[in-house]
Symmetry: C2
Subunit: 383 residues, 2 copies
């Protein structure tokens, strides 16, 4: 089992990309990452994507992107695990390099959602839920998360206003990230007035449908140790849970987040207290809360209190969503997990924009969540 490192980072801005196709977005990110890595040879490509088949009628993205990026012939495959597709693609690239059979692997997350009608996109996203027992009775993703939020508010007797701190923090950090979709602050007043989506979730609880691509180049650690651009992947662990919410004993506890983070802590030899920043999967405000609790960053029911005391702000004890998170940077579904790990790597390389660079980062963690918590990939990076 050889150790692995990330030595190349590439990303497109997260936007509504009307001028670029899926393959073009992916090629831009991969080309930038290879340039950043200072490499010209690539052995294997793992593409994280969820919806290109259903929306753009294009499957087979592995071979397609390898060819268009100038690497025709290499091993290439698409990895799908709903909104955790990006993190899962990184996991496959890590396994490939760790196996000794692949020397230079790329993980590219790419998604293009905004050019399709909302009806198709919502229907596509609902394929992450159980088609027979959830989607078929009309449960969209916002609705599933609304059930979780409602239950959390009931269980821990917390008011809705308390959740505002997460989107406000995400937008604040996104202001300084030139690749973020929403580079502006929002206020509690705006949060209170935001359009309802699925009660109690409103528009500002929800991350946006987005387009974008991000890429990482992964190589054996021993060959790059000490290089300025090398970041060690000390752990990248995946766990799953039931797809349908109704089959879980506790709807407000992300078992797969607990399991994958515990595995990651154990492999890395660290605990939650050692983590210096956390790129979390804030697809909806409630997901931030559940992710932080399952990873051991706060006790069940205590997260909103901690958050409203400033604990998770950029200058707090555990900065989260430092580049804007899914809410501020945007959520190009299958690309999101790669963006998160890329941003954590930028923080370790001290390459984040000034106002959102966390000082003295030893361990940075990223967590990518698919469905309503059914697939979760937790990654810990270090210098």
């Amino acid at each position: 089992m050889r150790k692995v490192a990330i030595i190349g980072l590439g990303q497109t801005p997260v936007r509504e990309h009307w001028d670029y196709s899926i393959r073009q977005l992916a090629v831009q990110a991969l080309t930038e990452a290879m340039k950043d890595a200072g490499r010209s040879n690539l052995d294997a490509l793992f593409v994280g994507n969820m919806l290109s088949g259903a929306l753009a009628e294009q499957e087979h993205l592995g071979a397609l992107i390898a060819d268009y990026a100038g690497y025709a012939g290499i091993e290439a495959v698409k990895i799908e695990a709903a909104c955790a597709s990006g993190g899962a693609a990184v996991r496959q690239a890590v396994l490939a390099v760790a196996s000794g059979q692949v020397d230079t692997a790329a993980a590219v997350g790419v998604e293009k959602l905004t050019e399709f009608s909302g009806k198709f996109t919502s229907k596509g996203l609902a394929t992450a839920a159980d088609a027979d027992y959830e989607a078929s009775i009309g449960l969209s993703f916002a609705a599933l998360n609304a059930l979780m939020m409602q239950r959390y508010m009931y269980e821990y007797k917390v008011p809705k206003d308390d959740f505002a701190v997460f989107p406000i923090n995400a937008h604040h950090n996104a202001r300084f990230n030139p690749n973020a979709m929403f580079q502006y602050d929002i206020t509690l007043r705006q949060y209170r007035k935001a359009k309802p989506i699925a009660d109690p979730i409103n528009l500002l609880d929800s991350s946006p449908i987005s387009d974008g691509a991000a890429a990482l180049i992964i190589v054996p650690l021993d060959k790059v140790k000490g290089q300025d651009n090398a970041v060690e992947v000390v752990a990248c662990e995946m766990a799953t849970d039931t797809l349908d919410l109704a089959n879980r004993k506790n709807a407000v506890w992300l078992k797969a987040a607990e399991k994958s983070s515990k595995k990651a802590y154990s492999v890395a030899g660290v605990g939650p207290g050692d983590i210096d920043l956390f790129e979390m999967h804030d697809a909806f405000s409630i997901v931030s809360v559940l992710s932080l609790e399952a990873c051991g960053f706060s006790e069940a029911g205590q997260t909103l209190k901690k958050a409203n005391e400033g604990y998770f702000k950029i200058d707090g004890q555990l900065p989260v969503s430092t580049m804007g998170g899914l809410k501020g940077r945007g959520h190009p579904v299958g690309a999101t997990g790669v963006y998160q790990i890329l941003e954590a790597a930028m923080q370790i390389r001290q390459e984040a924009p000034g106002n959102i660079q966390v000082p003295d980062v030893r361990y940075a963690m990223a967590q990518n969540i698919g469905g309503s918590g059914a697939t979760i990939v937790t990654t810990i990076l270090s210098k």
Copy 2:
């Protein structure tokens, strides 16, 4: 880099499965494979599937199948590479176990195509081609293969009748495989009269749309060496080519088949002459010919002559499609690659039905092809 072995095999019959859903088919195959392996613990699941999102509106098959098979919580992900999704899933399982991070992995290929209207299925299959430059101008998969067949007939001046030997052989072998879809012989007379699909391809040149699931359990070789049910994966290699046929210099040479088989021979330390049987990807008769040539089993343009002399029959020098191949056993797209490797493993374990058991198998090879040759996985097994 640790060596790996297959110790469990499971499959459903290939049929029109009106009584079982995707998850049920997958669970049947996985449960049978775990029983065959004599194991109860599973660490990771790799699901090969192409079209469940587009057809059944169900993505996120990794977590779903893990849960329904009784392994909720384990690492699980879907792998997609068009019709090579099954082979690609096996490749990921091999890498995972080779890495040392996973001890017991399952590769499950599953597809359910027959309950949808042919219009949707054809459109779904066309997402394996280039959406912008092929599918959008009406090129279906049969049409793309017809172009290749036409070109081959022109290039090597061979009559269409010469191709009949492949479907006739496939049906003949399928007769003895209880899991095959078509357990009956066909004749040259029937081939000549078969309904045209896309000239020169007729119905009997074409493998059928099917439903089915197959599963393999993959573990480190050193722990099972010598066990009766253990089959070593001596090589499992993937290569790619351009998605679109028009961008290839030679439309009748499968570069990715050449590349992945050469890698596989090199890793295994063997040559084409050492292979005792070949489970090939006979989706259309022309694909059989191109695959055999690119893998070095016959010279370009000479394959049909060799085939008509009996070289590839069950008692010939290189038996192919021993359990019926895609034409006779059926082609449940994302499951096919797993069926092929499972059948090769059965041959090595001497568990094939009497009439189609190849005697003294030392090396068995399987090759899974996605699109019109854009993703190809070549696997060599040995005792």
